[in-house]
């Protein structure tokens, strides 16, 4: 599935995304497993909440990280990766 700017995603059913104090990172939890996310993946997935569309996510991260070079591409590939892993699913 290719991602469109207007797409809205949410954390997939049976998955939970949360901040872990002990790990100092975001994690995704699901039956039989867990994944510890690095900082930028955590930033992106915090905005995948069933409300923000992909272009809104890109816009807010561009503001937050002051147009770091290539940021748009990185965000899109992170979303694609999460989608391929079935951590997130389409909400619209």
């Amino acid at each position: 599935m290719t991602i469109e700017q207007k797409d809205i995603f949410k954390i997939a059913a049976h998955h939970r995304f949360q901040w872990e104090e002990a790990q100092q990172s975001h994690v995704i939890l699901f039956p039989e497993g867990m994944v510890k996310l690095n900082g930028s993946a955590g930033e992106v997935l915090s905005l995948v909440d069933g409300k923000n569309s992909v272009d809104q996510i890109i816009a807010s991260l561009k503001i937050k990280f002051k147009d770091v070079e290539g940021i748009e591409k990185d965000i899109l590939s992170m979303i694609q990766f999460a989608l391929d892993k079935a951590w997130i699913e389409k909400a619209n």
Partner: protein
């Protein structure tokens, strides 16, 4: 239902438990031949932790970093306080998992679990045939399991099926996977029997051949291709047929912490078989001390305890020398390489076990099912014959 260590994706930088397995009771209405609860479990059935003690365990483990909670046993549903435990788990931010045979799950209870925030239920299934289900569990539970599967699904839970694989069902993998699909399973774990506890004493009767395993794996791969993302299928490879051991529990005291019915804190299910180690109990110095400072948890952390051939082995980071319990049970030396390893001086013991399992005379010995009577027999030394090949009671 005891669970086997499975496809968990974890990355760790320092030692924090990520998994807490609460084996909250050793009582069980099933009598599975492959159960890897300790054969002397009957000793530990009198002294179960109270609800309040379990809640404290949950809190302390969470402080240490634990995230995934498995509520297991025995059959956890025999306790009537799972409802309270689940609510606390949710409050603390665990991803909670009830690991059950399904016996004792009712509409009413599942509804309370759902409202309380239990995240998923892992159901054990045994076969597509009623005969084999009922034979291997030594109970009549076939119809019940199908009913429970439907109940789990109808409450919006992900359906996670765990199927322990052995000689009696390995030829039915295709049919088992088809059944899982028909039930709407989201995850299926085909867990080849690992030989600890009851499965170790029944090893000759349970172990399939290498050809059967290869075939089962092939069938599984074909099914995976067909089903795609709809259902995740894990195939847990049996270590006896590999020439390197598994990295047992992802390393001793690295990510797993087990608290048993009576409050013992263990780095793996069968650790109590190891000699000269006193395992901590939550009733004594608490969980923090157990994980961080107890001599038991530090005993085999890292690799400084190793002997040759592991000590200078270029692959030691990969498997950390395998399983300490398996090493001791089979070789009598807990610090030796896991005999599964082809470089282990005790590797012939694994080869012999594979051979014995093909011996029709040994195959024909009766299975010793997991029940209180048999456990008492083992404790009293009456069943000595069955444990004579091992260096301690499994």
């Amino acid at each position: 239902m005891a669970t086997q260590n499975n496809g968990v994706a974890v990355s760790v930088t320092h030692t924090q438990p990520l998994w807490l397995l609460a084996e909250i009771t050793y009582r069980c209405p099933l009598h599975c031949a492959f159960c890897y609860n300790p054969t002397d479990y009957d000793k530990h059935t009198q002294n179960e932790l109270s609800t309040e003690q379990w809640i404290n365990v949950l809190r302390d483990a969470r402080k240490l970093g634990a995230l995934q909670l498995g509520i297991s046993g025995g059959e956890p549903l025999l306790r009537n306080d799972i409802e309270e435990i689940v609510v606390e788990a949710k409050k603390l931010g665990y991803y909670s998992n009830l690991i059950t045979s399904g016996v004792g799950l009712t509409e009413k209870r599942i509804q309370v679990f759902k409202e309380g925030g239990l995240d998923h239920i892992q159901l054990s299934m045994h076969d597509i045939t009623e005969e084999i289900n009922n034979f291997i569990t030594n109970t009549k539970t076939f119809e019940l399991k199908k009913k429970v599967a439907a109940m789990i699904k109808s409450h919006g839970y992900p359906m996670v099926l765990n199927v322990v694989i052995h000689r009696y069902n390995i030829g039915h993998i295709k049919e088992i996977l088809d059944m899982a699909e028909a039930l709407g399973a989201d995850y299926v774990e085909l867990a080849n029997t690992q030989y600890y506890g009851w499965s170790l004493i029944n090893r000759n009767q349970l172990m399939p051949t290498k050809e059967q395993i290869d075939y089962a794996e092939k069938v599984t791969n074909e099914f995976r291709e067909k089903i795609g993302n709809k259902m995740k299928v894990f195939f847990v490879v049996p270590d006896y047929f590999s020439d390197r051991p598994k990295k047992c529990m992802n390393g001793w005291g690295e990510v797993f912490m087990i608290v048993t019915a009576n409050g013992d804190v263990l780095p793996c299910h069968s650790a109590r078989v190891l000699p000269n180690i006193e395992f901590p109990n939550v009733r004594d110095k608490g969980l923090m001390w157990a994980w961080q400072d107890s001599p038991a948890f530090n005993r085999y952390r890292g690799d400084s305890w190793m002997k040759e051939p592991c000590k200078t082995c270029p692959e030691k980071e990969k498997d950390l020398g395998g399983c300490r319990c398996q090493a001791f049970l089979l070789s009598g030396d807990a610090e030796s390489a896991d005999p599964v390893c082809s470089m282990s001086p005790h590797h012939h013991l694994i080869e012999k076990a594979i051979e014995d399992a093909q011996n029709p005379v040994l195959q024909a010995q009766p299975i010793l099912f997991r029940n209180d009577k048999n456990s008492k027999k083992i404790i009293s030394g009456e069943a000595k014959e069955l444990v004579k090949d091992f260096h301690t009671t499994p």
